[in-house]
């Protein structure tokens, strides 16, 4: 209307909205379900369209068994700018916003709309790595080297919570340090077990690397903590060597037994061993 007349300088904002954005959305799987007339809001023209997009969708929409309705609002700011908002209904956080300079070349505008608006809107509605079930997130994290896992722990609060889950550390201990895993938990959590195992491995590796250069580790690391368990204990502690077996069987019998049955194992002075040709019998 009035705006259209005044569009001598660059593109008409409403024209961009209607002729460029709407077809772009339609090409990318959005279907228009309603559109409202341009509304005069004081001296602004606003145009809105509602869209649905069938697929692919985020799991939270599957559960509700509904298609998200996206409301797209175009707000021309004078003749030089067009602001476009897209809001996913019932979810105020899910919105995409873009500001277009109407002076720019229409090809540039189209590309900008595609890359910075349509693509982002599709991402907002689509399944992302955040939507994978927990067991798959564990699976992915457990396949990562530990350094990358720590990077993942600071990408977002969701991923931080996942990397703090002790269930994950249990899997990690099992995969990276099976010997420690078989020892089980000893009042600690699996993350602490992992830490301990990780430190031990580092220490061992360094000692090995020094040893391979022919240097005794004790010389290189005089200030090592007294005795961190370098190797996990698998069975009962190693017993000191037993003394050589005693010469007499009776010595093996415990004192109390010997006292209770004084005659069993001691040679009885009253009885004589049987001898062929016992002199008493002769």
């Amino acid at each position: 209307m009035e705006l259209r007349k005044m569009s001598s300088d660059g593109q008409n904002p409403l024209h961009i909205y209607k002729e460029t954005l709407i077809p772009l959305l339609e090409e990318n799987g959005f279907e228009v379900i309603s559109s409202s007339e341009d509304i005069c809001d004081h001296n602004r023209y606003i145009t809105r369209h509602r869209f649905v997009r069938q697929t692919p969708l985020r799991p939270d929409y599957w559960q509700k068994n509904e298609c998200p309705v996206v409301e797209v609002v175009g707000i021309p700011m004078g003749h030089h700018f067009l602001i476009i908002h897209a809001i996913v209904c019932h979810s105020a956080e899910d919105c995409v916003k873009i500001k277009i300079k109407t002076k720019e070349d229409i090809v540039c505008i189209r590309r900008k709309l595609m890359d910075e608006f349509v693509v982002k809107l599709i991402e907002l509605l689509s399944i992302s790595i955040n939507d994978l079930p927990l067991e798959l997130k564990f699976k992915i994290l457990s396949l990562l080297p530990i350094e990358s896992l720590f990077k993942m722990s600071s990408v977002s609060s969701l991923w931080r919570a996942i990397t703090l889950d002790d269930q994950l550390w249990r899997i990690l201990v099992r995969q990276h340090f099976p010997v420690f895993y078989s020892r089980g938990l000893n009042g600690e959590d699996w993350k602490s077990v992992y830490k301990e195992a990780f430190r031990n491995r580092k220490l061992l590796e360094r000692r090995k690397s020094w040893a391979s250069r022919g240097l005794p580790s004790s010389l290189i690391f005089p200030a090592l903590p007294p005795s961190p368990p370098l190797l996990p204990i698998m069975g009962p502690p190693f017993l000191p060597m037993l003394p050589p077996p005693p010469p007499f069987f009776r010595d093996l019998v415990p004192e109390e037994v010997r006292n209770a049955f004084p005659n069993i194992h001691r040679p009885n002075p009253m009885s004589r061993p049987f001898m062929f040709g016992n002199p008493d019998l002769i």
């Binding site: 069938q54 697929t55 692919p56 969708l57 799991p59 599957w62 599709i122 991402e123 689509s126 399944i127 992302s128 790595i129 955040n130 939507d131 994978l132 079930p133 067991e135 798959l136 699976k139 992915i140 396949l143 990562l144 080297p145 530990i146 350094e147 990358s148 720590f150 990077k151 993942m152 722990s153 600071s154 990408v155 977002s156 609060s157 969701l158 991923w159 931080r160 995969q175 099976p178 830490k195 990780f198 430190r199 580092k202 220490l203």
Partner: protein, 189 residues
């Protein structure tokens, strides 16, 4: 057909498997698309395998398609999954023994798998992984997880966020605190 049904239970004989793969069964996506798949290939999915075993092959082959109701099983994802199982159905069975697991973890993906899983559309990738998980195809879940890992490995936090479209909801202070907490991994002793 009846002859094949006799062999249905866990016969690992290669010829039988090959012969069974000539039998086509129908799989139906959550979007309603119906796709054909060789029986042996389809049985790489434990979900389908259990279904076939409880229904009997004849019923499955001649009548209704098997419905994969989970929403991750979109048309596009199901097509990808069928492509994968049809390529891998005669792989030697994987021993899920723990000793091998470490080797399997470190094993690189085959060239074919790499090309297969390297799709431009991330939503499709996650749908395929979530669908494979739902259909219980361990090998494919592994391929997907490894692919994502290979993309994450060696990247900074910010690069990971950009790649996986994760929004950073930490303040700078919170991020610092987490880095400090994780410092033990880089510690020298």
């Amino acid at each position: 057909m009846a002859d094949n049904a006799d062999h249905i239970d866990g016969d690992d004989n290669e010829d039988v498997r090959a012969q069974q793969n000539l039998i086509k069964i129908k799989l139906k996506s959550s979007e309603g698309g119906i796709y054909e798949c060789g029986l042996t290939a389809a049985k790489m999915s434990d979900l389908v395998k259990n279904m076939v075993e409880s229904l009997g092959t004849d019923a499955v082959v001649t009548t209704e398609p098997i419905i994969l109701g989970n929403e991750a099983v979109t048309d596009a994802a199901l097509k990808k999954i069928i492509e994968w199982v049809e390529f891998h159905w005669d792989d030697p069975p994987v021993d899920h023994d723990f000793e091998d697991e470490k080797d399997r973890r470190n094993e690189e993906l085959s060239h074919w798998d790499k090309q297969f899983i390297d799709v431009d559309d991330q939503a499709l990738l996650f749908d395929v992984i979530a669908a494979a998980n739902y259909m219980d195809i361990k090998g494919l879940v592994e391929v997907g997880a490894k692919h994502i890992c290979s993309k994450i490995r060696g990247k900074s936090c910010q690069e990971v966020r950009e790649m996986l479209k994760i929004t950073n909801d930490f303040t700078a202070e919170e991020e610092d605190a987490i880095h400090k907490e994780n410092a033990w991994i880089y510690a020298k002793d």
